[in-house]
């Protein structure tokens, strides 16, 4: 699975970085920085996707 950010939706709330601190950090403006996008679809990743208040974080099959 591939983790993607829809940059037109992301407002930099930061929940994804809080839930996945090993995989996502934040830049100086608060927007997420992904450390690698190919991921196993584990529970923590799905929870982060579901938690995004802007629906900007997505998992896609590729």
């Amino acid at each position: 699975m591939t983790l993607e950010i829809d940059w037109t939706r992301c407002d930099g709330h930061g929940l994804c970085a809080a839930l996945l601190p090993d995989r996502i950090s934040r830049d100086e403006w608060g927007f997420p920085v992904l450390h690698g996008t190919k991921l196993p679809p584990d529970t923590a990743v799905r929870r982060a996707v579901a938690a995004c208040p802007a629906l900007a974080l997505r998992l896609t099959r590729t």
């Binding site: 950010i5 037109t8 992301c10 407002d11 403006w29």
Partner: protein, 413 residues
């Protein structure tokens, strides 16, 4: 020193010249505009071509889009086979230094329509939509369409918007009545049943259909046959739209453009890159890729020692930041930060170059469209090249040269 201000955009119908034989620009040395009759006298009738023949020609020539992304036209046709797509000519040309597409649409509109209508016929599409940002091009295409029997299939749409509005997917949204903004999801114009290509791409296709694959390959390189258009400007005595064989060395173009003492060139436009004016750089997609750059939107701007290169960079970076659509956080905040960094560098602030490079890395690849990536490439390539200037600005309060504005921004006609 032969220097003219980079104001060639003030009159896009101005000079056209060629290195080698004119193909796309044929007839423009004798005529201000090629109407239906002078078009036929110049180019001859267009041979019929079904989809199989078009694909054969395109595969043999490898014709790629001339708007910046360089996507093979054959792949777009294959993706839309059997879908009766709308054919869209992207004539929005939102690069401020580029005028080549407007020159084609205003002065040889039938050649562009020939290519677009041939694609529409081959794919059984109903309509050709020509999208432009300026009224003169719209009027010229409407006039041309009225002169030809198949012109009733042509619609002209005058769309407004800035730099990113010319991006293919943003344009497709605007034509659908939506905002002229790139979408957040990964999608292509072909996903919407639209075959979109740049105006020059269709003109090149019209040349290819007439010449056939072998004569088309009489010029250019083995892997990139044919010619390309470049808008040449900056510190040259002969600015204008130039047709040249792909693979022509930069030195030949600089001499023909009467560049007095060229030192730097900006290739590909403002999502392109800065290079030293090395005569051996080959002007082709692969030649510029080997030099670490891109042919991009077909722009070649020349800088000499008359102007402050860092100041030129700062002006364009500020313009690029202002052209952000503001949809995506890293672009919205990162490009203004980058513009401030380059300005600080001009003012001799220590460490500004490192911060600028960090901000360029921070925006790269982090947006719905390629505006942040292109801006990052433009600034990073300049900073690597302008180390002497950076030293002078840091330790001597500047390079002592004025900022002439040889890199044009905004003010498009």
């Amino acid at each position: 020193m032969t220097t003219t201000m980079g104001r060639l955009a003030a009159d896009p119908a101005s000079a056209t010249w060629t290195i080698g034989a004119a193909r796309v620009l044929a007839g423009l040395d004798r005529n201000a505009v090629l109407d239906a009759r002078t078009h036929l006298d110049t180019h001859g009738p267009l041979p019929a071509a079904d989809l199989g023949r078009l694909l054969g020609l395109l595969d043999a020539s490898g014709l790629t889009g001339r708007g910046g992304a360089g996507f093979p036209l054959a792949a777009k046709l294959r993706a839309l086979r059997g879908q009766r797509p709308t054919v869209v000519v992207n004539g929005s040309e939102s690069e401020p230094a580029s005028v080549k597409d407007r020159v084609l649409l205003r002065r040889t509109p039938h050649l562009v329509l020939d290519g677009a209508l041939a694609v529409a016929v081959a794919l059984r599409g109903r309509r050709v939509t020509v999208a432009v940002h300026d009224a003169a091009a719209a009027a010229a295409v409407r006039t041309a369409a009225a002169q030809r029997p198949d012109g009733n299939r042509v619609r002209v749409e005058l769309v407004s918007g800035g730099f990113v509005a010319g991006e293919a997917r943003a344009l497709v949204r605007a034509l659908d009545g939506g905002p002229a903004l790139p979408p957040g999801r990964r999608e292509h114009a072909t996903d919407h049943g639209v075959l979109l290509a740049n105006a020059e791409t269709f003109a090149q296709l019209a040349v290819l259909i007439r010449l056939g694959r072998h004569r088309f390959a009489d010029t250019g390189t083995r892997t990139e046959p044919g010619t390309t258009l470049l808008t040449v400007g900056g510190a040259v005595g002969r600015p204008g739209v130039v047709e040249l064989p792909l693979g022509t060395p930069l030195g030949i173009v600089l001499a023909a453009a009467q560049a007095g003492q060229p030192r730097l060139v900006v290739a590909g436009g403002y999502h392109g890159s800065w290079h030293p004016a090395v005569p051996a750089i080959e002007l082709s997609r692969s030649g510029l890729a080997a030099a670490g750059g891109t042919l991009g939107a077909g722009v070649l701007l020349v800088l000499d020692d008359s102007t402050c290169a860092l100041g030129e960079l700062a002006r364009v970076t500020a313009w690029l930041a202002a052209e952000s659509a503001g949809q995506c956080g890293p672009c919205r905040f990162g490009l203004p930060a980058l513009a401030r960094d380059v300005q600080a560098l001009c003012q001799g602030h220590p460490g500004a170059a490192e911060i600028a490079l960090r901000h360029a890395r921070a925006v790269d690849g982090r947006g719905a469209c390629r505006h942040p990536d292109g801006t990052a490439r433009f600034v990073t390539s300049a900073l690597h090249l302008l180390q002497d200037e950076t030293y002078l600005h840091l330790h001597h309060g500047g390079c002592g040269r004025p900022v002439l504005g040889l890199l044009p921004i905004g003010g498009r006609p």
